[in-house]
Symmetry: C2
Subunit: 465 residues, 2 copies
């Protein structure tokens, strides 16, 4: 075949260089036609749109063309021409074709007909070749990029907090243990407990549930940092909202108080949604059409409304007086369920909501204690459909108050001696929050199962691929 | 105190708005002066440079000023003035001061005197407050950002491959096991082996050693992807070159052959080094001055030289004929040691080198087999001082050849059924490589111990913080 530099389909579709030679490579989505001519819809992942390849059957011979079926990969030299059809602006008339790889129609699972999302999860190695998952994973890229851009432009440093950790101080959930011990023959001490001195790190270690505690150390030196990495929960929750392995973004900023923190969270979320609308329009339009016709309205709803800010106490008051029947009863001191959060956002305020000043008993030890002795300077950002999308707080900067809380909760200070020292030496007010990346992805794509917004989901009894 | 919007020190130092009110917050690096006036060098992490705060002692009183010692955190309202001293262009005359946090000189470990890097590793929670680690972690941020930019601008998608995996097919090294089993009482099957059906994922799982295999699935659908995430090795190696947890970047591109792959690697590395020189000048200059006066030359050396490309066989020939005495003997079939790689780069070619076509026995099963039956289309990029900085290959796209190699090596096909299917359905030529992020960081910063380029290193017997 003649050597011609490859053009990506996304670029070819925008080209007006009609009559020029072009090389296109990609995977066959469909092939149709008649005795004389074949029309191949080719996709190379660069865009959701296919490029039509027009093939004169006689030129290549039926035998040669036979393996060009759905899923096959081909390399085409041809001529770019203006399309006669209405659906596409350009097409390519094939001059030379090389077949890179076939896909036997008897065994290739992705035939033309639609597939259930459940079925596609079982073939996660092939599902990025579908329109739906091509769109989702392109959006996932753009959202990741937007996150890095947002923080970089504002002088935050990307700070890599550890994945393997010996501190379980967050208390955020069940953890996976990390070990090199031989599980068929675990070494024990005389009292029958595991002898972790023989383990790789000489102590018990786990997969992190949050990079926040280490992130705070970054903020207390570099000023403003963010993390963006995998986090883990070993909860046996088989729901559309839970993953055992998920990605989290956690900014942490020295000298920010809770109001600065709320401003940052609101500005950040609006930036991301605006970025998605401006940079992922075709993919979002496709997902809206296929799965969720209210998707664009919901994105605009967040963009166009100022987030309402009120305290947890005020929120509880509204819920109690609402007369609405909730599945879970609600009163001061209870943790809010998604139904309560969504009621405030969707029914009462018709705005995104930021709730602050939660009871200290339902929040973590590190949050700044208010003078009332009952509440802490926490903030949760609540979205339509999703409920909580961001959780954060101003942190307790006072060493004595922090130590008192640690002791009240009966926590061991040994695993967090370094965290406590950050309050002992040059402490400062600071705040931060966590955004679950897949929660954001659910909101932006309109998908309803969290397993459909990450390439290879990890859930109970599922670590395939 | 009067409410004035905070100015970062990086911005204040560039300001010429003399006479204006300004608010500065940061950590005290040093305090010197005399009976009448104190000079505080303040740093807030936004730059390696300190801002001088000038304090009239009488205005505040000695008792108030006493706790303003190295490590303390203060909040200053003042007036920006042109500096009288030679070292700084601007300084701030303090009007109001709030002390956020003290740092008792009797216990604060970071006093003015220099500290060894070994000592600073033991206080990794505080070392980002030093000039050295501030510089290193700012550079780390800029390199991360440059990596995302490079790929984004070229149409690659950031693809999140899983951290917890059941496939150990890479064979790249010892692995950490991930489990929720109770190690004091591991459930066993009748034959005495561990009953993993009771584990979280219903099977044995590990921390990934590479995202490549899953990354290839991304490339075979989205066209061009890259990973950038943590990877793990459970090797008991206590050396300045090994971490148990490190970050890796792995681009993978459909339709790229080995030459495209070499072009990408060379262009990518030069982009990153150029980016560092253009965006991290002050921090690199500091590290060069303190640790490595050849650092800038070495960076320019890579930028200004075309990478020499030759085969492994040619490289071995040069080494054998060199007459140089190597610690490890070298002949065709041996894996190259850093001393051999550095000889080719530093002594023989005086250029960065890309070696290709290694013996198949010393490379992974997935590499494209050459027609000679002996070598595979591997490529390693070799740098001065570092040795191998990138390893990659064109991948074996032919299902039958790949299966034959898997069987020759006695590998189980069960854990990689999905990988094999990527060659069964619409296979295509494709290539990729891996860049160890901390290797790059060593090269760019001139640091010599890999524990000094990641915030919280994980090594045998060390998982603190």
């Amino acid at each position: 075949m003649k050597q011609i530099k490859r053009t990506k389909i996304a670029d070819a579709l925008k080209s007006t260089d009609f009559g020029s030679e072009i090389n296109i490579k990609g995977w066959v989505r469909t092939r149709r036609g008649n005795k004389n001519v074949s029309f191949v819809a080719l996709n190379d992942g660069s865009t959701i749109n296919n490029l039509q390849i027009v093939i004169e059957n006689a030129k290549f011979g039926d035998e040669f063309l036979k393996p060009i079926t759905t899923g096959a990969c081909i390399n085409v030299n041809g001529v770019l021409v203006q399309s006669q059809g209405r659906e596409q602006s350009v097409e390519v008339q094939a001059v030379e074709i090389e077949i890179y790889g076939t896909a036997d129609p008897a065994t290739y699972p992705l035939q033309k007909k639609g597939h259930s999302l459940e079925f596609l999860r079982e073939i996660a190695h092939l599902r990025p070749r579908t329109n739906t998952f091509g769109a989702v994973f392109r959006i996932r890229h753009h959202m990741s990029y937007a996150i890095h851009n947002y923080f970089h432009e504002r002088g935050f440093y990307y700070f890599h907090t550890p994945i393997i950790t010996a501190s379980d101080a967050e208390g955020a959930g069940a953890m996976f243990e990390v070990t090199t011990l031989d599980l068929t023959n675990v070494p024990k001490k005389e009292d029958g407990t595991v002898d972790y001195s023989q383990d790789f790190f000489g102590r018990q270690t786990n997969l992190t549930v949050s990079g926040q505690l280490e992130g705070e150390l970054g903020a207390m030196s570099l000023g403003a940092i963010y993390t963006f990495g995998p986090t883990f929960r070993a909860e046996n929750s088989n729901t559309p909202r839970h993953l055992a392995e998920f990605w989290m973004i956690e900014p942490e900023v020295a000298f920010n108080d809770i109001t600065d923190n709320m401003d940052l969270a609101e500005d950040f979320l609006k930036y991301l949604i605006r970025y998605a609308l401006e940079n992922c329009k075709e993919d979002i339009d496709f997902l809206a059409k296929m799965y969720d016709n209210e998707l664009l309205d919901r994105l605009q709803f967040v963009l166009n409304n100022k987030f309402v800010r009120l305290t947890y106490t005020e929120g509880i008051d509204i819920l109690e007086k609402s007369g609405h029947k909730f599945e879970y009863p609600v009163h001061w001191g209870t943790d809010l369920q998604a139904e309560h959060e969504r009621y405030l956002v969707e029914k009462h305020f018709k705005c995104p909501v930021i709730l602050t000043d939660y009871p200290k008993e339902i929040k973590s030890f590190y949050m700044k204690q208010n003078d009332d002795g009952k509440t802490v300077r926490a903030m949760d950002v609540l979205f339509p459909k999703i409920g909580e999308i961001i959780g954060g707080s101003e942190r307790e900067a006072d060493y004595d108050k922090l130590m008192k809380r640690v002791q009240e909760l009966g926590m061991s200070t040994e695993p967090i001696w370094w965290y406590l020292e950050s309050r002992k030496f040059g402490t400062a007010p600071h705040s931060g929050f966590g955004l679950g990346f897949e929660r954001l992805m659910l909101f932006v794509t309109g998908m309803t199962n969290i397993r459909d917004v990450i390439p290879f989901p990890r859930t109970p009894n599922n670590a395939d691929f």
